[in-house]
Subunit: 111 residues, 2 copies
């Protein structure tokens, strides 16, 4: 049983929350290293970003090289904070050598 410590739940406000769906294809043989680095990044995001609502790595069931990250931020400033953090930049440098192509990043409006 996985204990659920926190769950996202927020009131709607005047600032639109932002969803991010990142699709990342990883080189064969690099999955373990990719997951380790990405989960370290996840811990940093959850620990440091009060404006991050969720940040959750998933692996495709049909293609084990494909990962999808579900993310949500309370607004544009929180998304910018995420992208400008030192740990995000440092993780991205490490991950760049493990991916098979540039990630596909889709921004969405939270409803």
């Amino acid at each position: 049983m996985i204990p659920v410590i926190n769950r996202p739940h927020f009131n709607k406000g005047t600032i639109m929350a932002i969803g991010v769906l990142a699709t990342i294809t990883v080189q064969e043989g690099k999955n373990e290293e990719f997951e380790r680095i990405f989960l370290e990044l996840t811990e940093q995001v959850r620990a440091n970003e009060s404006g991050n609502v969720f940040y959750a790595l998933h692996r495709s069931k049909s293609d084990p090289q494909v990962y999808k990250v579900m993310e949500q931020y309370v607004g544009p400033a929180a998304l910018a904070e995420h992208g400008q953090s030192d740990y995000f930049r440092q993780a991205n440098e490490k991950l760049a050598g493990l991916v098979a192509a540039a990630p596909d990043i889709e921004l969405l409006d939270a409803v």
Copy 2:
């Protein structure tokens, strides 16, 4: 500012958490009704399902008829509980008349 009341964060365990990415295309002119019913469903999910980690409706920026729902459950039993609930079935009956096609549902392994 949108207050973030809860955030997902859970320890890894032996049971694999499950992600769901649902893509739903809504008929033109039905967006408002779709969103109202879906947000009512979202409130029920958050209030009743301890095994739901997050459940978050988003709208595409490129096609206003397209919605993407990011969902995560702590395991297969929690996902089954979601699908079998009365409020989910009742919402689906209402939503069926508003969508343009059958939703695309992708199951993912949480990492």
